[in-house]
Subunit: 420 residues, 4 copies
């Protein structure tokens, strides 16, 4: 049902060219807004990727990136690619065709990861879970306990399913592996969680974590960021999936001296340096708390609208993206279209199984309360435009009150300038 097309164009004030003033509002769950400081780091003149002083830049960056993954022993890799390429690098360097992989599917991105594994010839055992839930830790536990022959070589966990706004319990998966004393490698898709939601490489015994530049790292798209345990690195010697571009070996050999096996996207890597600086300056736990607080404000707004999240229980609530269900009889694609075309607001679409049923608000990266008010207000307006019965201002009011009562401490000693 497409009520949007029945909306008439009401504005008769503006004739001629339909020019939109001001900045667009970007609230998709990635790419996220690039902070000014990072944009400037990215916008440097080109440089010589073999300059003798480059290692003084790259080597400390590799070290500092480990802090973001909370690892001491893992190794970080930067590939010029999207997150999908990161998945490919993760699997191709550690598995061989025919290897058994345990995975679960509960959204478009966990689905696509399974698909990638299948295309590379791995034997993927998929547990389908209702969209709105996350990694089925108990089922994983049972399956791993049953696999006494250790046929399963890899266990996949999508930490944050971007399509449904669901965060899974990676620590639980580790517990299941440990309980079964199972040696399988643990792979985590952290594309939309790492640097925004707590992630603990070493503590959770993650073997390969995949992230991307354009979400919590707040850099333009184009860089896959991986962290790999020594155990997974060892596995590369047995893994015979054909690979070259994504080969860890070439990276290891050249990264060691601060260089890369082929032309690195230095613009993004310069941006990554500032991203890591910003994350560490703010403090990772503060970054996570900030995301949680902003997310909670959005959830209060959804409640006030009388709508529900795709995530089925509070324990699944994602702090980086909320997938919001529209009532029966409405098409969420209409909300998106109106929001974008009429109000310059980009929201995330419902994908695959939830197409038409949900729209998503990305609330990760470089954001604050008032920026989110644009998104909430724009969503209200677009929903009301197509007839969804939410009250004008209701979501905004709920978020305002939540943010007010959890507001940042301020230095009141500064005197407001009074004179012109």
């Amino acid at each position: 049902m497409r009520r949007a097309i029945e909306i008439e164009n009401k504005n008769t004030a503006t004739k001629g060219k339909n020019i939109m003033a001001g900045t667009k509002s970007l609230f998709i769950p990635g790419p996220t807004n690039v902070p000014h400081r990072i944009r400037q780091a990215v916008d440097l003149p080109m440089e010589d990727q073999r300059a003798p002083d480059l290692p003084t830049f790259t080597l400390p960056l590799f070290e500092d990136l480990k802090k973001i993954f909370k690892t001491r022993s893992g190794q970080v890799f930067l590939f010029p690619s999207s997150g999908t390429g990161g998945w490919e690098a993760a699997m191709a360097n550690t598995l061989s065709p025919g290897d058994k992989v345990l995975a679960s599917r509960f959204g478009q991105f966990s689905h696509l990861w399974v698909d990638l594994c299948q295309r590379h010839g791995y034997d993927v055992e998929v547990i389908d879970v209702e969209w709105g839930e996350g990694v089925p830790v108990e089922q994983y536990a049972k399956r791993l306990a049953a696999d006494t022959g250790h046929e399963i070589k890899a266990v996949l966990a999508c930490h944050n399913e971007t399509a449904t706004g669901v965060t899974s319990d990676v620590a639980g998966v580790r517990k299941a592996l440990n309980a079964a004393k199972h040696p399988a490698l643990l792979f985590v898709d952290g594309v939309s969680s790492i640097a925004s939601i707590d992630f603990r490489m070493d503590e959770w015994g993650v073997d390969v974590a995949v992230s991307g530049s354009q979400k919590g790292f707040m850099i333009p798209a184009g860089l896959a960021i991986l962290c790999v345990s020594q155990k997974a690195l060892d596995a590369r010697r047995r893994a015979d999936t054909p690979r070259c571009y994504f080969d860890f070996e070439d990276m290891i050999k050249t990264n060691k001296d601060g260089y890369f096996p082929y032309t690195p996207p230095m613009s993004l890597i310069r941006g990554l340096r500032v991203s890591v600086d910003m994350l560490l300056e703010e403090g990772l736990e503060n970054v996570f708390a900030r995301h949680r607080r902003l997310a909670e404000g959005v959830r209060r707004a959804v409640d006030a609208w009388g709508l529900s999240l795709c995530a089925m229980e509070a324990k699944w609530h994602s702090d980086t993206v909320s997938a919001i269900c529209v009532p029966e009889g409405f098409n969420s694609a209409d909300v998106l279209k109106i929001a974008y075309l009429r109000y310059g607001l980009s929201l995330g679409a419902g994908l695959s199984k939830v197409a038409g049923k949900v729209f998503r608000i990305g609330h990760l990266g470089d954001l604050n309360e008032l920026m989110l008010m644009s998104a909430l207000s724009g969503a209200e307006m677009a929903m009301r435009d197509i007839g969804i019965p939410v009250e004008a201002g209701s979501g905004v009011a709920a978020a305002e009150e939540y943010y007010r009562h959890t507001a940042r401490p301020i230095d009141l000693s500064l005197d407001t300038a009074a004179a012109r």
Copy 2:
């Protein structure tokens, strides 16, 4: 009364450095947000201000600027200075010490203009008007009619008083001059109106109009933009206020060939080119309509809050800035301080007579509905923080509904992308 300092700092989630993520919200009545396209034009490598091809850039710009002032016969001047320098240029080139000037005062900026005239030795006859009203056209009319000896050489009209959010009737002043057949020069301060609110140099018989780069022109501060009638240009021959930097004569001689008498701020002038392009591409009438519509949404919010504007009647309502009165017992400076320090929102302060009594929302330049929602929401939050009894979300809701019912026509033929 200062309730703000009683507000406790509530957030205990964030420890350590108090870092604000995201972009600040700038809603002062200038400088305004610089559109990306203009920022890029400003951010050019330095250039040779005597290059042989410079006139191919400057001469058409001088011509196109006339369109913004709606003049055919006037001449535009660009001085590296603030708007205050623009005032000085306006007076110094046309008047002599001792000349009689008729002016009115109803806000901080009309006050400062009078002050500048007095410091230059002109004999200013000031009509004081209550702050919240504008140029007293009838009093002007009487005074001009009475001045049969034409002692008055200049009549000043502040088109848009930025301190109180009041727009005056310049056409009315012209009518008064014409009715009295009075030859005095008509000076208009259009710093916060020109390029945002309708202004008609020729039709209204304005002799000198003063504007600045950082308001409707959406360029960084640093450039005064004047438009001068032939009549006022002729007056420079008799005017013996000492002058050099702001001398029209040097400008006329060099501008004629596309150059400047001293190093011009080419960055800003390159930005001005794009500003003029953007204004003409959108169409001046559309620009004015957009400002009016955005301003009206703000006024609806003020109504919903149960507050009143400093501007006393609808006819004085400014479409570029609203000065909002806080209730008795509250200090508007507290609203500003909380808004800025807690929510990253810059509002305009109450100045001079209305210090502590009003706060201002600038709604001019490169803005849209959702950006304004940040301002309205932040103002609600800050007001509630200090105890002003406005309802959460009420202003936002009123603005939402107004904007929805006057929304831009959209092209619904574009299909929303459905797949990942």
Copy 3:
């Protein structure tokens, strides 16, 4: 032999921090200098890669890119990756493990391409040619004529070997294929030629051409740009090299509607749009002529220095990079080190077989005569610093005279500004 380390540090004027003022000079053969206009296009706010109006941007870009490859029937693909990833995409989509590939090796990049093919399990027949020569067209012709059973599935030609400054005769390879009526696919590495040196996809019957963003396209590194013939596209149905990230199929399905199968690096793609605009505005043939002229100036300088190029004959001369041999007894790495550390000049190193023997001047992308003078002058200074007997100013003088006698037409009607 390392004379450089004997060079004493002579400057006693500057104490304390050794800060280098001014801009560095980048004359490696990629990444190349990004023109201001492209840098600004790259430096846009992030955007929604699924926005309904994105196809109005992407679809015409795909079309215009064909003009750069001089193809009508080919299809262009953009992968977030380096050129190496472009090679991988080219092979993986068209070949199956065990397929026979005919290749030649005469520099580091033709070598690495062969290596990539071998790692993917293709059966590569390599013809080794002396470094300084190019694709051995006659040997190819013989081998193809002999392959009456058409076992050879792919023929590789490195159009411009960046390591040695050698351009090969791709048209000749096509002639050899045609003469033998051989159906093998023709693959061309045009990473450092396309958009700088004439390349003709359709006329030369190229099946897959691989290029990258950071050379002639003048964009930051991170985008592989491929062009694929219909014949090669058909081959993807039979090719069973495992692939997912680089799969043409996913690209074809989504590109058709103007979208991408995963998050595209929109910053680079926005830059690519301006790159293509600039190339087409200047005219491809003018772009090629400009590169030829600038390269010839460099070659005149090398002559004047009494040195020789790595490229053995004039027919191999590359118009995008010159590899210059240092005399016996000198280490070209010392030239690079001195040039970079003392004069801020990045030259290209000698790689692999020619390490220590050559240094390279990249002369492609957004360059002009006077920029090259910095490179030539810096090279002279660095060579003299380590004792290479070239005459000060000799190379610069030769280039000056060549450039003067082939200078651009100018419009002398513009009057030089005479006044201050």
Copy 4:
């Protein structure tokens, strides 16, 4: 005589649009090249000039600026204006109409300063000196000694005459004043010297120093930077030149708290912060030494060309700009025109008395050796194009050798990257 117009357009390679690739070379004596770091500081989003935390930015900047002027007791003022406005501020705040001023004139800028004083009604006693010499210290000494009645209120010294490339002896002027025990205020035009050539406010007893943003400060044009002694500040109480925009009083009152009397050009002031940081990080003495060394290389080139400087003796040589005399029978304007239109090189024109006779190379700000090679080479080419008999490469060679023998110390411990 205009040989340039006889130059035929030789290049037949490039048809169609005459597009110049690469970056233009800017070697005028200001505006100078803005370093990337400063450009980024300038390119910030607009900000609230009355924000409560602004003083934490402005107050330390005012303090640090004193270091650039080498003053402890002086006060720095920032006016949105060109250097000419700086002159006006200097005079208007300290003198009254009719006051006697001692000045000298030996170039276009010392001339214009005198002109400005005359227009403001001061009684200027001008000593005309041959262009190519500087402030006539001995004549000043005599005149001051003779002025026992202390009628002279102000003594002007143009520290660096930009039109002729002449640096004057300001310390000598102070000695002359002291010798005569003369209380006149000492005014210095340091627009093209301060931050590039040693300047000592306190040691030399300078009362008002005027500089601008676009020379040694390396910021875009638009900011006059003044430093004023307490003695000169006191003089403002007696000075009755009418003033408002440039009034020190308003600045003093608001600067004290970190604010400004009208909208400041915050973009430039943010850039100024980074400029001051860069100057202090490098160390002022190192900055001066760098300018001296770069200038000396240019002078060696001029010698090698067989040409002479406008500056008549070594003691007058300016380290920021060299004015180079073309031989009889040639028009220096032709050199400029060819350099700009054919090679994209901006040189400084000969102004007024030396129009057609000299061209100028600005060598100040963010420059290094190889950048200067572009200028020297381009000048050689342009001179040869119009027939001036300089040897190709001769100037470049001389500069190369000078720079090589005075090169910066380098850290040879860094290993050159050898692998791809």
